[in-house]
């Protein structure tokens, strides 16, 4: 059995391969086609969100999390293409026999990463069925339906670690500088055009409705500005349809709605239930008079929250679900490379 040091070394080999890919213009071009992100969106993902410089402490933590498995099948999801690195790294830390099934919609990055790593312990099997795995573990990422299917079809004795759908929430504290916070949060919103499970979809603003409106104005400006540098990519028809419904509902509910090519920022009336916007750079802003109110508003969706970002992470921790990662604004989409981004019970 490999030592922890050897496992860390194997993980580093993948990280180094990823570092080379981040510099590869050809793959960026291919990713633009496969992900629907704009070229700038792909470039930003590769330069800011691909974990090319994890610390040794992070890698050690990842190795500890991974444990040991006879073999691992890694089933990847499509959209946050850089997530393939972390997922494969966890599999590789756990086992000397890793098979990767990339997403049908976005197989490019995983394939390139595996080729670049040139690690004989990792094989790419685009068509492998989960039911063919007779021992070890299956690490499955993606839609809840995919996770449920995998659990239902995995053979007895095969451990399934599933990471399904989730989302991020931002907490803007009473002491936050609104403009600065909005600019930081915009960085989190635009990453992967908000299709990741760390993507903030809701921002709770401590204070009254007027403060929420003020923050909505700041978010509008921040998202408009950042869209100049990193334009939104192509939305699917379903995403566009959901966006229309969501923005019409918000238009009806409140006058404070900003919409444009950058996305949509809407603020719900005080006390209104939270309505999760679709992906595509849309943010639902809700005023919350205090931490207790924020906790109550989020409670019904606790199980879906993967991360909470805040200008005041210490206070955010007071109401975030225990499993959620806590991050500074602007760093919600860059969690430590210490295990899966989703820390809910797999």
């Amino acid at each position: 059995m490999r030592t922890a040091e050897e496992r860390a070394h194997d993980v580093m080999r993948l990280v180094e391969a990823a570092r080379r890919l981040a510099e590869d213009a050809a793959i960026a071009h291919e990713l633009t086609r496969s992900t629907g992100l704009s070229p700038e969106g792909v470039e930003r993902a590769l330069s800011r969100h691909l974990e090319t410089r994890p610390s040794r402490a992070e890698i050690d933590a990842l190795v500890r999390y991974a444990g040991n498995a006879e073999r691992v099948l890694v089933v990847l999801s499509a959209n946050v293409f850089v997530a393939a690195l972390r997922a494969i790294a966890i599999g590789r830390a756990a086992s000397d026999h890793v098979v990767v099934r990339p997403s049908r919609r976005e197989p490019i990055f995983a394939r390139a990463l595996i080729e670049a790593a040139s690690d004989p312990a990792i094989a790419l099997e685009p068509h492998i069925g989960v039911e063919t795995i007779d021992s070890g573990e299956i690490h499955v990422y993606g839609r809840d339906e995919t996770v449920a299917f995998t659990r239902a079809h995995a053979r007895p004795g095969v451990r399934v670690r599933g990471h399904g759908a989730g989302m991020g929430v931002a907490w803007i504290s009473r002491s936050a500088a609104l403009d600065h916070s909005a600019r930081r949060l915009a960085d989190d919103v635009i990453a992967f055009d908000q299709r990741g499970c760390l993507s903030p979809r809701i921002a709770l603003v401590e204070g009254d409705y007027e403060r929420g409106v003020a923050f909505a104005h700041c978010m509008h400006a921040a998202l408009s500005d950042v869209a100049q540098m990193v334009p939104r990519g192509v939305l699917t028809e379903a995403e566009r349809a959901e966006a229309v419904r969501w923005s019409d509902a918000l238009s009806f509910a409140t006058g404070a709605l900003h919409a444009g090519d950058f996305g949509t920022v809407g603020i719900a009336p005080s006390g209104a239930p939270l309505l999760v916007p679709p992906p595509g750079r849309h943010l639902h802003i809700a005023p919350a008079p205090n931490i207790e109110a924020a906790r109550a508003m989020l409670a019904p969706m606790d199980g879906a929250i993967v991360t909470v970002g805040s200008d005041d992470p210490g206070r955010a921790e007071l109401f975030a679900p225990p499993h959620a990662r806590i991050a500074e604004l602007g760093a919600m989409q860059r969690p430590p490379f210490d295990g899966p981004v989703d820390r809910r019970d797999p």
Binding site: E237, E239, F252, A253, L275, P279
Partner: protein, 349 residues
């Protein structure tokens, strides 16, 4: 000469824009001058989700005589849509008129009505329960609530059902049995291979989906199983389609093919442009409901529909933005439109 549908719809839209700030705002956002429209299709539709986050009513809260709520969802009571009415007379008259026509044709003036659901006092905010109580009161033979609504504390009172069915069989009077789809699944599960023969001419009205309250069953299979369990023709199982946000209901004329009452229209629209799609193409349901006097005369549902020969096909929910990657989809999180199309919470038996 009666006023045309379009004229009534436009008048209602203007009335609503005058009294509901949100609707006036939606009209402005959509660039519609509501004062000058003369076709119903030009009035912006209110997404059903709006009922969940704000009040959609032309009158002050204290004037509400009935408040109907959509059933709970995965995010709990917070996300329930609310449809308030200051008078249910219009709703009742419309529901009764079309319900009688679609469910009771060929049946006597009065017939036994049994609901596989809880009584109104246990589901006071369910528009479905309200409507079924109305049917029982206005179309049913005299019976107590306990004899009509046969679910109490989540348990079917099978012996009461048995008694009523037996009596109807002896008298040769057809019955109406009404239930949600999930209640029917639980009923069938409880029954196993047993059957409850209903008198000839009886009908079963089923409505709504499963919403995680029972195992999912293919609609055609469920229909066959229900027909088998009650010993009735498959055609005697009639689906109803309604939403808490509406005041009108739609019934199947043939499996999967629904018809509107004369005071409502279902228009398939493009999900992005919201413009009507060409005849025969699939769109999402824009529902123009003249009975929604005090709320929203045009409601945008999340169901996919297609016009067919004087009616429409119901083709399931418009899929939410798919969770590309691990991002949560609205579907996953809110099941919002699902809650919209399934009215109230008649309880899990």
């Amino acid at each position: 000469m009666p006023e045309s549908f379009d004229r009534l719809a436009c008048d209602l839209a203007r009335f609503q824009a005058e009294h509901i700030e949100g609707y006036a705002r939606l009209c402005r956002a959509r660039g519609v001058d509501i004062t000058s429209i003369d076709r119903a299709i030009d009035a912006p539709a209110v997404p059903a989700d709006a009922f969940k986050i704000t009040r959609v009513a032309t009158f002050p809260e204290h004037e509400a005589r009935a408040v109907f709520r959509t059933s709970g969802t995965t995010v709990g009571a917070q996300a329930r849509g609310v449809h308030a009415m200051r008078d249910t007379a219009t709703y009742d008259a419309a529901a009764l008129a079309f319900g009688r026509r679609m469910l009771a044709h060929g049946m006597p003036e009065r017939f036994p009505v049994v609901v596989l659901g809880p009584p109104p006092e246990a589901a006071a905010d369910s528009s479905l329960t309200h409507m079924l109580a109305l049917f029982a009161r206005e179309m049913g033979t005299p019976a107590s609530n306990a004899e009509t609504f046969i679910v109490e504390d989540g348990i079917f009172d099978i012996s009461t059902f048995d008694e009523r069915a037996a009596r109807a069989l002896v008298l040769g009077t057809p019955m109406l049995v009404a239930a949600t789809s999930f209640a029917l699944v639980h009923w069938l599960d409880a029954l196993g291979d047993d059957v409850f023969r209903l008198p000839p001419g009886s009908r079963v009205m089923q409505t709504g989906g499963f919403k995680g309250r029972s195992r999912e069953v293919d609609p055609a299979h469920l229909r066959r199983q229900v027909a088998r369990a009650f010993r009735i023709e498959v055609q005697a199982v009639v689906s109803e389609y309604g939403m808490t946000e509406l005041s009108s209901q739609f019934y199947e004329r043939k499996p999967g093919w629904y018809v509107e009452p004369p005071w409502a229209r279902v228009v398939p629209v493009d999900p992005v442009s919201l413009a009507p799609v060409p005849d025969g193409e699939i769109g999402i349901a824009r529902i123009e409901d003249l009975m929604n006097v005090d709320s929203a005369v045009c409601v945008l549902a999340a169901d996919r529909v297609r016009r067919v020969g004087g009616g429409f096909e119901l083709l399931g929910r418009q899929p939410g933005a798919p969770s590309r990657g691990c991002s949560i989809a609205i579907d996953d999180m809110m099941q919002s439109a699902l809650a919209s199309t399934e009215r109230g919470s008649p309880g899990k038996p």
